[in-house]
């Protein structure tokens, strides 16, 4: 299910004093199984972009093809689109509404036309994926859970549709360190199983670690499109776009400023560590 975004533009409230061009002629493609990070400061157009890709708002110009199909057309099979492209919004726990967790998770699959007899199995699988025990939780109210658990249930509700493409808007916002780590692990697992991931995040370290490609949005334009290594070595350009480097990149930058010859190619924790061990003559770690 490759995604092709072709010359997409979006204008808010055209023809009013509040007119604002949120996206300007954005084009890129995403192949099957990629893990794409989208970074950009607040108001750079990244949220608008994912809403257009998932056909939640219509673009003003250009088109989006998912597996060759333009789902913004009137006669397009919207249910198929919803099954294909899962969207996890920021703070997805605010979309829970059913009496029981199992019912809430089954809502998406049911609405997109999955046969009733498949629902239970899908619910179970989705809950296992996010690490929530089916038997313990299925009949509980989603409103009894802690914040972190609610988020897992909301994500399970999207996964139960078995999407080929998963779009996420800052899924780790508000989570504590272990919650952040376990969520990134989950996404990594899904990606390893072949799911295409499109993730908006400010978590540069997570993206440096897991993403295969990064799109940098700035003032409605696609400013960069490359591997984490290609993107994160552009220190100045990123800073100008209001973005930070991953922590490892910041360390490398600080060391280089002190005249220590460490390669700018190092953007991950382990890479920097190995290089430092080599430089400082410790015994290499396994």
């Amino acid at each position: 299910m490759p995604i092709a975004v072709e010359n997409v533009s979006y204008t808010y409230l055209p023809g009013t004093p509040f007119e604002h061009r949120a996206l300007k002629d954005v084009s890129f493609t995403i192949a099957d199984g990629e893990f794409v990070g989208i970074i950009g400061h607040t108001g750079s157009g990244k949220s608008t972009l994912i809403q257009i890709i998932s056909s939640l708002i219509p673009q003003t110009a250009g088109r989006v093809l998912i597996d060759g199909v333009d789902y913004s057309q009137k006669d397009a099979d919207k249910k198929k689109l919803r099954r294909t492209v899962g969207v996890v919004f920021q703070y997805p726990e605010y979309q829970l509404f059913e009496e029981t967790i199992a019912k809430d998770i089954a809502y998406g699959p049911r609405m997109t036309g999955i046969p009733e007899e498949e629902l239970e199995n899908r619910t179970q699988v989705a809950m296992e994926l996010v690490g929530m025990d089916y038997e313990t939780y299925k009949d509980k109210s989603p409103f009894e859970l802690s914040g972190g658990q609610k988020r897992k249930i909301a994500i399970a509700g999207v996964l139960a549709m078995e999407p080929k493409i998963l779009i996420m808007d800052e899924p780790i916002a508000g989570l504590d360190p272990l919650g952040r780590e376990s969520l990134m692990d989950l996404v990594k697992n899904l990606n390893d199983c072949g799911m295409t991931i499109l993730m908006i995040s400010h978590n540069m370290d997570g993206l440096a670690e897991y993403a295969s490609r990064i799109l940098v949005m700035n003032q409605g334009e696609l400013m960069m499109n490359g591997t984490p290594r290609e993107v994160f070595r552009e220190h100045e350009a990123l800073r100008a776009a209001g973005l930070d480097l991953p922590e490892a990149g910041q360390l490398v930058e600080a060391l280089r400023a002190k005249g220590i010859a460490i390669s700018e190619e190092n953007i991950r924790f382990d890479e920097v560590k190995e290089e430092l061990i080599r430089m400082l003559g410790g015994k290499a770690h396994d």
């Binding site: 914040g147 916002a173 504590d176 430092l276 400082l280």
Partner: protein, 279 residues
């Protein structure tokens, strides 16, 4: 220096629907010195937000005592005095601004205190200047970014001329830039205005410049000490469901690999110095 906050054997319990008694806090003894910068770390559900509400008499402990500037929070006569001297900034930027215009929101606290009108105007100007938001004073709050809203919330607390400001996960919903800005502002208020700060967070890097770090876990104080002591104690942090900050983790793993890096590195700057020393 005298204590501004002192708690003794504080518990906070509630009864669940099934009738079980749960302890959100269980025997917390903490002191925070006047004019210091304290950070409370803890994973979600560790009891840190429950604790925050005790500091401004928004709720009272079910056991034990909380003294603020020598006043017992259970003393109903002094509730408003306590609330006036402890400003609170909460997590959700959208849910703590009352008015439809920024300056009127900042004026809300002083108005409640019955401050005379000309002085309110003065305080509002000062408070907005302190958070660098004066030029937004006639804006509607919903047009501002999350970080800007939190700055208005800080200004709202400042306008009450508090002696302490408690930030209850006030940075949790912000992007990295917004977070950094808030931290800069409270650090400045602490150093220049002498306002006592209690910052509750789960971002480890926000604790590196604190005078005192307290780790809460399951409603109890697991550990307290200086940032260097706390943030380098990996075993303890793990027990608390936390992770050391980047520099501390890196320093530790380098040491494990046999490189004699000082154990006390918690910031990138310190780590760089150490590496330069070894080169």
């Amino acid at each position: 220096m005298e204590d501004f906050v002192r708690t003794q054997g504080v518990t906070y319990s509630y009864t669940s629907e099934e009738g079980d008694v749960n302890f959100a806090l269980n025997g917390v003894d903490i002191t925070v010195k006047k004019g210091s910068f304290a950070v409370i770390l803890g994973h979600n559900g560790s009891g840190k937000s429950t604790f925050a509400k005790l500091l401004n008499a928004l709720s009272l402990p079910t056991g034990g005592k909380v003294w603020i500037d020598g006043m017992d929070t259970a003393d109903a006569e002094r509730t408003f005095e306590i609330r006036g001297s402890v400003g609170m900034v909460f997590q959700n930027p959208d849910n703590q601004l009352v008015a439809t215009v920024v300056d009127e929101d900042v004026a809300f606290g002083p108005e409640n205190l019955g401050v005379p009108q000309p002085e309110i105007v003065e305080r509002v100007e000062q408070a907005l200047t302190a958070v660098n938001m004066l030029k937004y004073k006639k804006r509607a709050p919903h047009m501002l970014s999350g970080g800007q809203k939190q700055r208005i919330a800080i200004a709202g607390a400042l306008a009450m001329h508090p002696k302490m400001i408690v930030l209850d996960e006030a940075t949790a919903m912000l992007d990295p830039r917004g977070r950094k800005k808030i931290l800069e502002i409270v650090t400045r208020l602490n150093r220049e205005e002498g306002i006592t700060i209690v910052l509750i967070t789960h971002f480890m890097e926000e604790a590196v410049d604190a005078d005192q770090v307290i780790v809460l876990s399951d409603g109890q104080v697991l550990c307290q000490g200086t940032p260097h002591e706390i943030l380098t104690d990996q075993a303890m942090l793990k027990k608390a469901g936390l992770l050391p900050p980047f520099a501390a983790q890196m320093a530790m793993e380098l040491r494990e690999a046999g490189i004699p890096i000082a154990q006390t590195c918690i910031t990138t700057r310190e780590l760089v110095e150490e590496i330069c020393r070894l080169q």
